[in-house]
């Protein structure tokens, strides 16, 4: 297969950036999208051009490191996939493909297709944990039964990989889906109850400080989320936030 690639090149946060066009051939349909970029990079190195910088690591859809806005969609066409799980058989031979970084004020570009998502870490640091020390003298794990539907729902929320597709997709660059997934995980579990109020208030506050936008319920985040995190979590976070705002001292 052959492709024409329009790739965003930006030599650092201060650089204005521009689109460059490259041709790649020798692509096979069972290659992943990132393997296709590998082919491009080997080709560019051979031509004395700096290879395209992009984030990637596990290449099996779980680390959340890969990003890329492909033909106007976070992680490209196809539902429930990260860019590393996107295969070239999803495209037609000869297609023109436009590749940009995830764009959001809170995700500044580092270089080319790589962005800084450390704002997500700071949101977690604001309260995305249960305060328990590692003493080894904790109650037995089965001491508190948890209803299966709650445990399952907490798990579903906890499968967020923190890739930022929700932010990149949202017209407001909102991080509500990401933040609410973590708030929900703990809100659904007895272990999360003690700090529930502070958690939601602090995490939402941090989200705003980082410069993420607000949610206007378009639901685009849920559609583009590679892990299918539901916007029900946003509704749950809103409830938690409201009740915490009213009742906390």
């Amino acid at each position: 297969m052959k492709f024409t690639l329009n790739v965003w090149r930006q030599n650092g946060p201060q650089d204005k950036g521009r689109m460059e066009t490259y041709q790649v051939d020798q692509v096979s349909d069972d290659m992943s999208f990132l393997e296709m970029i590998d082919v491009l990079n080997e080709q560019l190195i051979g031509q004395g051009v700096d290879p395209v910088v992009f984030d990637h690591d596990c290449r099996e859809g779980i680390c959340g490191m890969c990003s890329m806005f492909i033909n106007g969609e976070a992680h490209g066409p196809g539902r429930g996939v990260t860019t590393c799980q996107l295969h070239m058989r999803e495209f037609k031979d000869g297609d023109e493909i436009t590749i940009e970084p995830f764009r959001a004020k809170a995700f500044p570009v580092i270089k080319d297709l790589m962005v800084d998502r450390s704002a997500f870490d700071r949101i977690i640091q604001a309260g995305g944990y249960v305060s328990v020390n590692t003493s080894g003298n904790l109650p037995d794990a089965n001491a508190t039964p948890i209803e299966k539907p709650d445990a399952d729902a907490a798990f579903d929320a906890a499968t967020c990989i923190g890739c930022g597709a929700c932010v990149a997709t949202c017209k407001n660059a909102s991080a509500m889906l990401f933040t609410s997934a973590k708030v929900s995980q703990f809100a659904l579990l007895p272990q999360g109850q003690v700090e529930a109020k502070d958690r939601v208030l602090h995490m939402v506050n941090q989200m705003d400080l980082e410069g993420f936008g607000n949610c206007t319920n378009t639901g685009a985040c849920e559609v583009e989320c590679p892990k299918g995190i539901s916007i029900e979590n946003i509704a749950r976070m809103n409830r938690e936030f409201l009740s915490a705002s009213i009742t906390s001292k």
Binding site: D57, I62, N133, T134, A154, Q185
Partner: protein, 668 residues
Amino acid sequence: MSTLDAHIPEGPIAEKWTKHKAKIPLVSPANKRQIDVIVVGTGLAGSSAAASLAELGYNVKAFCFQDSPRRAHSIAAQGGINAAKNYQNDGDSTFRLFYDTIKGGDYRSREANVHRLAEVSASIIDQCVAQGVPFARDYGGQLDNRSFGGVQVSRTFYAKGQTGQQLLLGAYSALSRQVAKGRVQMFARHEMVELVVVDGKARGIIARDLVTGELERHSAHAVLLCTGGYGNVFYLSTNAMGSNVTAAWKAHRKGAFMANPCFTQIHPTCIPVSGHFQSKLTLMSESLRNDGRIWVPKKKEDAEAIRAGKLQAVQLAEEDRDYYLERRYPAFGNLVPRDVASRAAKERCDAGFGVNKTGEAVYLDFASAIERYGKEAAHVQGLHHPSAEKVRELGEAIVESKYGNLFQMYEKITAQDPYKTPMMIYPAVHYTMGGIWVDYNLMTTVPGLFALGEANFSDHGANRLGASALMQGLADGYFVAPYTVGTYLADDIRTGKISTELPEFVDAETAARQRMEGFLNNAGNTPVEVFHRELGKIMWDQCGMARNKEGLEKAIQDIRSLRERFYKEVKVPGKMHEMNPELDKAGRVADFLELGELMCLDALSREESCGGHFREEYQSEEGEAVRRDDEFAYVAAWEFADQDPGKAKLHKEQLVFENVKLITRSYK
């Protein structure tokens, strides 16, 4: 050659750890504030160690090369984590977990360490549940368990096929809590490129800021390497693209011995290789072997027809299928340990029974599980004469609830529906049991340098059992290192801050800079990737699932000449003081090129077959591994010497088995 002292405490095995903990010196809270600790790597071992040490009051600096500690490759672990909770009342106990692990490791691990691992396993589950890790539960609200290879109890806790993710996010949340408190300083997108040793003690690291390209000096009173395994020496593996041996190898060059480096786990159930530009292999969790049956056609002509695309797996009648694991190992069937399952798959494919285009794949079939679960579900729903379609529908729903994400992952990669047609799988490099030699306290041969998790060698012998890596990473980080690192630091309370202006820091930084400049100024034309791919092929062919003397000797020569060519011909674009992933990769591949040779050397010197190390010269008539306990019941710990990985000196730690009798491992 010398012998090594592992500093194993005296006394009966079940009391060693308790007594040891009772005796170790403590560091007062005021003194802890004066002590700095560096943790390199933020997977299960690193995150949990950094969080725990910070909770205790030490000043912790944690480093990871990813953009966030949450992305370390522990995140990709699928199946589960073992713990001797005996919730299923199926006869599990601390001793049985200890025994299974020693036996599973083919009697090449250290009894005292493994027993400690089994002892703390139950606390790990308590800890994780308290942190809000959403493990799978049954309808009574209790934790659910499943079974893994090489054991006859159900002791594996899980969170669908994302157990590693959930455990790592738990450890990451504990770490984040300490970052928020200012107890941990987090350095993401940083890579350790040198270890700094002052007066024989590990006193810091040189790290490269991967965004700016600057080299930074960081000092500490102790350094913990939690940097994972080195499976990427094979180029294709289930490891993440960034997983590398550099931190461990730099430590090796500065005096840390590498133990049993040839002990590599080739995991039996991975998605087969499809093409030349393939960058990595994807694991299909071992948990699938609870319900999937592995087979190839009985007749060669059927296998040939399948490879030619003229015959489909589902068309093959039951009597024409060879469920070779069930045939060869009736007691454990499809749940034999990984090394045994991998070799059996290779044996069938080598004999011409492989089922995909390349002839290197076997089937993993869920049809009978779907039927069994479907009938069960129909029974529960009171359907007495369900149609075959109804049974299928109900059965698929149950299989979906157990393995949904794995099936989905398989379908995305292969574009085939595993509910309707059997999966195709083949063994792939997955884990390295070998690693940095550590004593009972997880300290390496460099005082003050510790190695935790997959980075050390200690607990899995020559073969790791499924769901044990997560257990070990968290055991080391949450429950072992916080005690044993403190023991070492108790002597350091008067040392004061370590200056980064010491000549050792300057020298280490200079060495790292010169190495990088060397790559950038090289007049070559070949990208780094090409050399890595070539190294991987040598390792897979000669130091993979089966090894022999002739092949290993050839591999050593091939690697040496590849290394020479690498330094002459490699081309690294870009500059030093900027983000430069090709430069990072060049440094990593340079270290793999040295490690590969040491692995072959180790495999050559171990003239026996054990666990994942299968020397063709040492096998029984049935093709089973033949261990030689009289001569090889030791840990081979290699000391770097003469600036040449091939001249490494062998030190032996004799393994003493007082609680387990050495017998031939049998899963028949």
